[in-house]
Homo-oligomer: 362 residues x 4
């Protein structure tokens, strides 16, 4: 198992779905950053289940506690440890699953790799593991916001839901989008009409005891030129690793993505033009990254999420011994995890950028 | 700059497009693996330019020399260093580019990050850097081929061109594809009719002094269950980093990819079924990975490549000072890099799997 | 700051002397190891202050709580997080030190490096940071004890006090020493007569409101042949890093150490001789390691500790502004930390060996 | 095997004693540093055998060639690869050793760990591996020399022989010592009278076909305050790892070292005093490091080297099968490696400081 991420700014997460607690240690964070538990709680609240009728009803308050690394509201430069106690869990819900690996879950592979696994729930593969990521990412965001460019603005990271199933949002203005616009609807799509269609899609799939996938788009603004460490730690490469490490992700695109593979060079090339204090590009098919290094344009990428594996519909599968069984989902499940995954995408992005910002200074 | 990749099996590449040499050091490779320069040369020959009329005419033989780590045709368990001397280079071709950053190249970001850059060509951002990757990957492949499953077969990695521009190949039988089938046409698409359309597309774009992107698909067969180290070094996460570290890549999909985000859970879930000595799945939307760990099914992923940034068509761009200029490409360029990128994708895949195989044993 | 150690078995410690808590996360520990809080508490109790009249009276119970990674008394293969709440602290004791950096403490360098530091006590440089190390090391010891050699015995690590000031213990039989023999006296020297002299030395220095240094020796028995990863992660090199990372350490010797530098090769060379199932050596000047790799003989090393920097005697020093001041120590201090450092040396040794055991399998 | 060292400034060495070449790749070196092959050759010449009658007669010119990372006499910020071709080798000299592991060499442990080993000489465990270290260290030194303190002086690293066998040098003035003073005698002890005694000792031991150990001392001047990353990558901890990774080392002391363990706190504590632009200390028992961080005083440490294991005297040992044999050394051997190890100690020190200087900026 490998639960650490980062070179200078390094996060380590811990905790299973039903262990006493979950959390993270963030090491390498610079000293002197204003930080309270509220800064962290804000993003945890956006992640937690039960925020709306669209998500699972597992009702965890997920209150974070800072255990080290912060004194008098300021980071010390020492490792910041954060703990969230696991409260609401009902192992009985999971009892039936012991002899049957849930399809498209990690039950089978964990059992085969480790020879045992958590008695209930997803253990380490549970979405609750992401609590530590979101908590650490919230701190990285504070650090990034403190790094002002010549225009006086810190680095901003904003993610939103750009597709639920086949319902896709039209293009969003990357300069104008804000988190408050994103949070106006429970589905976290800033395009109101599309949001309504997405909500309708999720409510329909929920009634069917089924689930649906979706796509999250993300923009990073005011990123200084020079972040990324070629050739193996290119900025897009570490973003790709970060995103594909989030549970349920199936794809990553930077800039033009798969569409770019269909273009000609003369159309795809981002021609240079003078922009205030720097050289900018007219188009941004590069997604803000050239040669693995940020170029000053907004960084733009997309992440594909598969539908939640836990569904209420009966499934004809096999138990650990290979015997055919029909599996009927009990307990709670999320018909669409994508809205709640927004702060996770933002957190991982902040951790990637924060680490590169510190490596860049090196 | 970060030129190393891997935890136990660790590759370090070196070399610029016009330095005396390019190459790699592969550390952590187990002892006792049969290895000669021929094993490495085979994949380098598939990578080198000038193999067909479809690619650039830069005519480098790219002969690799083993400098350490191998004795009497067997690896010693010590770092294996490999060197390819750079022969054919004509810095004069690049002279015009000194004051003008080439659009969608790394000229501008390297200049801004490092304060200087190679006098000619792409320097470290050049495709010649991938020679070291291919050489190291060829060794990793030998190691993987030696790791026999109960069925007596080693791990096999086969990549092919599944799209050039808008020309897409129909689905390929993942069990039957071989490298010799892939290499039957210069475009490396194993579906003959599609290959002809792809070749026509590339020849047309070449005449227009333009370029075109494409997609590479890759399958890994006979991968043992258990590879991958959650939560941050999930198998798909490190594959994503590896692929997005290859020059010109814009996207990565594992299994169902972005299509999976449009499906319902009841359709997407891979139901279990008994397969000989293990539990298998009926469908493989997971792409051979569940919970970040290989599940014994074929690993399947796709990589999107943008069109080559170097084109012959004039481009209205700006010089380093922001003054408008028209840039006219001289020298050689590749109308479509995707066929030559096949061994690079295979090499990076072999390095990822080889590292996880060694970490898995740990 | 860098608070992680290890490649496969990786410990991350957190916590300041006066933060809400201190602890550690141990990642990469194999699944299926029997583990309860008692296993960890045992070594924490040997480390904690106030065990005897020889040590500081700061009276912390230091009760550890397992927060993740263990279920039904068995490790899951997931990160094991451990927390100890900081209870007994009296920041007022440290008030005077705010404007005066304590001599030979980390006050000055932390202030210069981080621009701020913990309001009281040693912060991250405090000996309380070692609680996390001891907790994680206790788990590594359980893992090592489970790895049986052909002789049916697991790896054993035993450290003892071999010198306090100028009082040195005669040679100890490395095969016979046990922790219970070590713990028979408060000073943890297994040679009873020497122990009495050491205790007298410490009591005398305590009366003088002064402190004294000492040396810890350590043996590792039943270590399999092959641990250590040349050329930079040689076994003795990582042991040296581990030991010199413990607060107050000034030196490290493996095998013959500095004495070995005075010998001739004909005397120093360890000649081979057949021993049961392996080749052994007649002498062990190598300290159980040759070429950076364990050779099956007992691993033997020594660690030098300086006298505690906190003393009661007045000291003529300077404040942060360079003004001369006389500093008079208040609060509690340890006249000799060496006996309490025994479990820290054992813990770091266990973490080094555990990591190499897992890397060796790779 | 683990052949890389460093976090941001990272060296990877390669090569066996009788492989086609040996060398190193140095990644993460900042761009814009003036560098030619001469800068590197200078230290390689100090390392190579055959400089005087005191060392082995293996006559290698050890000419280094820069293969990448440098253009027009300036570093590019890209990986710098360096190659030295192995010329003078006579495998026949080593033929007898195939069935007999040489006492206190790595033959036995390499054979047991890797299942095979280099056909002749020490393979990877040979002192020729250190060529790559010295080459990379010479570049790190150039970088350190460029980092000027407020006093206008760059970082300087000077090592010397402070003991050969029982012949010890009196204390040296750390402010006045220079490399040219060190190199005045073949034994590299800057105290002329002691140097003569050392030379006599070595010549005597050479006649006896035996060998002798020694101690190297090292000072680093003009080191800025703040280098080192507690808690595991303390400056002295990484120095200790670096030194103990050098072949034949047995011990490491920082500042007062083992002598410090015999002192009282009131004597050992380094009291503060105002020094120009910073707070300095009156004594320097800390060796320039407090709390794992450089404090602005000279860094001072010692390294113990055992006598060379290769001797001409007959040795009663056992072959790989455990059968008693008498081993008689042929070929060349070094009666005392310590003078030639000076540039290796300096190189590893430069690599440690260079890495911390870059991490400090982060």
């Amino acid at each position: 198992m490998s639960s650490s991420f980062g070179t200078i700014l390094k996060v380590t997460t811990f905790g299973e779905s039903h262990s006493p607690g979950v959390g993270a240690v963030l090491d390498g964070c610079p000293p002197g950053i204003a930080l309270t538990e509220k800064d962290i709680q804000k993003q945890l609240d956006r992640r937690r289940p039960g925020q709306s009728s669209l998500s699972t009803s597992r009702n965890e308050k997920d209150q974070v506690r800072l255990l080290s690394g912060v004194e008098n509201g300021s980071t010390l430069g020492t490792p910041i440890s954060m703990l969230v106690i696991n409260k609401d869990h009902n192992p009985a819900d999971y009892k039936d699953f012991r002899s049957v690996p849930r399809p498209s879950h990690a039950d089978y592979t964990y059992q085969m790799k480790y020879g045992l696994r958590s008695a209930s729930g997803g253990g380490r593969a549970s979405a609750r593991e992401t609590i530590g990521r979101v908590a650490a990412g919230a701190i990285a965001e504070k650090f990034l916001a403190d790094n002002h460019l010549s225009n006086g603005r810190g680095i901003e990271i904003i993610a939103w839901v750009s597709a639920v199933g086949r319902v896709q949002s039209p293009l969003i203005d990357l300069d104008m989008i804000t988190r408050s616009k994103v949070d106006k609807t429970a589905v976290r799509c800033p395009h109101p009409k599309t949001a309504q269609k997405m909500i309708a899609t999720i409510e329909k799939i929920k009634k069917e005891a089924d689930s649906i996938g979706g796509v999250i788009s993300c923009v990073c603004r005011n990123v200084p030129i020079g972040l990324g460490e070629p050739v193996f730690d290119k900025l897009e490469a570490k973003l790709a690793q970060a995103m594909l490490s989030i549970p349920a992700t199936k794809g990553f695109e930077i800039g033009s993505g798969f569409d770019g593979s269909q273009m000609s060079g003369s159309r795809h090339n981002d021609l240079f033009i003078k922009k205030k204090d720097r050289l900018g590009t007219i188009t941004n098919n590069s997604g803000g990254i050239q040669g693995g290094i940020s170029n000053g344009e907004p960084i733009f990428f997309k992440v594909a999420f598969k539908p939640t594996a836990t569904i209420g519909k009966p499934q004809k599968t096999a138990d650990f011994n290979g015997r055919p069984v029909e599996l009927i989902g009990k307990g709670r499940h999320d018909p669409c995890v994508v809205p709640r995954a927004i702060p996770i995408v933002e957190a991982m992005t902040a951790l990637v950028l924060g680490d590169f910002l510190l490596r860049q200074r090196a």
